[in-house]
């Protein structure tokens, strides 16, 4: 039986149209004009128990709107959702007991109170047995290194500390379904790594069903076997991460800053010249056919390089390429 079942889910926001100028403001007062914005457009998917799915898309694609509808706080305009057999909007309180939520940009902890106070209250609200609670707290203290933080008010925490606390607060009642909305946003690599490890250990060992939204392809690669890509409110890809990795993950780009203006350049096999622009040269290469040192060495043999940087493909590029038919052959 699927844990989450989404059918023809649609959300249309009615947004008041602001006309420019004073006259417009007055007109808006008497006859407000609205415009409809479809944030989520007839999407369908199912998740089985224990699946960890990456739900990705560029800003404004409809990720958070979907998550909010799944949690039950936002009412769908159309379509249906079943989470553990319940309608999350109609049975909001019952549904809340079985889910854990982290919104990376907001906190569910009490700002002015020490973390332990927030956790105590949350444990009470979710009816966590005191013995179980002690155990969980001990365990989280170790895995999330919360020891030093328990007595700290949330307002005095760094972003990374806050996120570790948020995760503890969201998972202390061992929910069956977990929604993580950009849990690594704004964090440095080290903290990201630690949080990914924690999510992996905690969610997989307990068989939680997880939906993870992120901009960070690293998160997805580390945690998910399956990804759903959404753009403009529609699902444009739903399938194994391997397909995405094979198609896009093998490419890297090197940007060289050159001393002189370069028009042409020879690159080794498996690499291609993307652009030459003023004092900048971009080269893309396939990791399975070449390597960063080969490409960089070849380029540096030909020209004087002031600086260079290596980057992974951006999510927005991937989305663009999917639109251009990049997955047509492989996915279908």
């Amino acid at each position: 039986m699927s844990v989450i079942e989404v059918k023809q889910l649609t959300k249309v926001f009615k947004i008041p149209k602001k006309e420019p100028g004073f006259g417009g403001a007055v007109r808006g007062l008497f006859r407000p004009q609205y415009e409809n914005k479809t944030a989520v457009n007839q999407i369908n998917f199912r998740l089985d128990a224990g699946e960890i799915v990456g739900y990705i898309g560029v800003n404004g694609a409809g990720k958070s709107t979907t998550i909010k509808m799944l949690t039950g706080v936002l009412m769908p305009t159309d379509g249906s959702i079943k989470v553990l057999g319940r309608d999350p909007h109609k049975q909001r309180v019952d549904n809340a007991r079985d889910i854990g939520v982290v919104f990376g940009q907001r906190t569910q902890l009490w700002w002015d109170l020490a973390l332990i106070e927030s956790l105590n209250l949350i444990a009470k609200m979710y009816d966590v047995h005191p013995v179980k609670y002690r155990l969980m707290l001990d365990q989280f203290s170790r895995t999330l290194e919360l020891d030093q933080l328990l007595k700290t008010p949330v307002r005095n925490m760094s972003l990374g500390q806050k996120m570790r606390s948020e995760l503890a607060a969201a998972l202390i009642h061992e929910p069956k379904v977990v929604y993580l909305d950009e849990p690594t946003i704004g964090l440095d690599l080290l903290v990201k790594e630690r949080i990914r490890d924690f999510i992996k250990a905690e969610c997989i060992s307990k068989g939680m069903t997880v939906i993870l939204t992120t901009h960070d392809l690293g998160d997805i690669e580390e945690l998910c076997q399956r990804v759903i890509i959404i753009d403009n409110g529609r699902i444009i890809y739903d399938g194994p991460i391997d397909t995405i990795k094979k198609r896009f993950g093998k490419f890297r780009e090197i940007t060289f800053e050159t001393v002189e203006q370069i028009k042409t350049l020879d690159v080794p096999e498996g690499a291609e010249l993307l652009s030459t622009d003023d004092h900048k040269v971009q080269v893309r290469f396939d990791r399975t056919l070449s390597s960063a040192s080969k490409v960089a060495g070849a380029v540096m043999n030909q020209i004087e390089v002031r600086d260079f940087s290596l980057s992974e493909p951006e999510l927005s590029d991937i989305v663009k390429q999917i639109y251009n038919g990049a997955l047509d052959v492989e996915a279908r």
């Binding site: 694609a61 706080v73 909001r92 919104f103 569910q108 002015d112 109170l113 009470k124 009816d127 008010p153």
Partner: protein
């Protein structure tokens, strides 16, 4: 059944206890508030003494009785205040409403426990004001336990009336997202219409009718009238009944309104 009740008691007890803890994060406000309260209380007392300079009674109330009422109304003012409009507005603006709605307990119950915690804390914080009132302005507290009983029941009912009334008003913030105007309007109306400044019996007939047709006075003028000895104790059962009717009506109205209003939630951010 008993275990569920105990669980509820434990959750709501914890929520209740949250408010003093939050307040204590900013202890400086206690001292600032105390000084301001002493000044306001002195102004009210001197104002009423000046009015009574030429006359022995107004609407049948003597100077001592009126000043007792005014002092008690001042001390028990927290009965009228609950910050639901600010609470809702702030939560909506900062997108925190979703977190509160995602708790597996009754949202209204959660807020009631917290507002009750706030009430008890504010009353405790007002204890120094009781001493100021007794020592500086000659307040004499009633000693009859029945008077206190009648007052406490009426005060709790009145507080609950205001809770549901404010809940109803707070639902408007789902539509406006602007809270400052509504919040200030409610604060102003509360001071005038709760009977904090003038005993109800002194108001002209038409004004009293207006005041009693809105719920504010239920939380202050009505219970404090009992405590100050202006309203005879024999009226207490009828007063409680009226307050219970207010609660039932406002509970139904506010719950229905909330159910509709919460659908308007459009949490900012993609």
């Amino acid at each position: 059944m008993i275990s569920t009740a105990r669980r509820h008691l434990s959750v709501y007890g914890a929520l209740f206890g949250m408010i003093p803890k939050l307040f204590m994060a900013y202890q400086i406000w206690f001292w600032v508030g105390l000084v301001l309260n002493v000044i306001s209380m002195a102004i009210l007392v001197f104002f009423w003494r000046a009015i009574y300079a030429d006359t022995a009674t107004i609407s049948g109330l003597g100077q001592n009785q009126t000043i007792t009422y005014i002092l008690l109304a001042f001390i028990f003012m927290p009965l009228t205040s609950n910050d639901l409009v600010w609470e809702f507005g702030g939560n909506l603006r900062e997108g925190l409403m979703i977190h509160h709605l995602l708790r597996p307990i009754n949202f209204q119950g959660m807020n009631y426990a917290q507002m009750l915690g706030g009430l008890v804390m504010n009353l405790v914080l007002n204890v120094p004001m009781v001493f100021v009132a007794i020592l500086a302005f000659g307040l004499r507290l009633p000693t009859d336990p029945l008077t206190w009983l009648a007052f406490i029941v009426s005060a709790m009912l009145g507080f609950t009336v205001m809770f549901f009334f404010n809940w109803f008003l707070a639902c408007f913030t789902f539509y406006t997202t602007e809270i400052w105007g509504l919040g200030v309007l409610i604060q102003g109306m509360t001071i005038f219409l709760s009977g904090a400044l003038v005993p109800l019996v002194m108001m002209p007939e038409w004004m009293r009718t207006v005041v009693l047709s809105v719920p504010f006075a239920q939380a202050l003028a009505v219970p404090v009238g009992l405590l100050a000895g202006i309203t005879p104790l024999t009226n207490a059962p009828r007063i409680w009944l009226v307050q219970i009717l207010w609660i039932i009506g406002l509970w139904i109205a506010s719950t229905l309104f909330f159910r509709v209003a919460v659908r308007k939630i459009t949490v900012q951010g993609g």
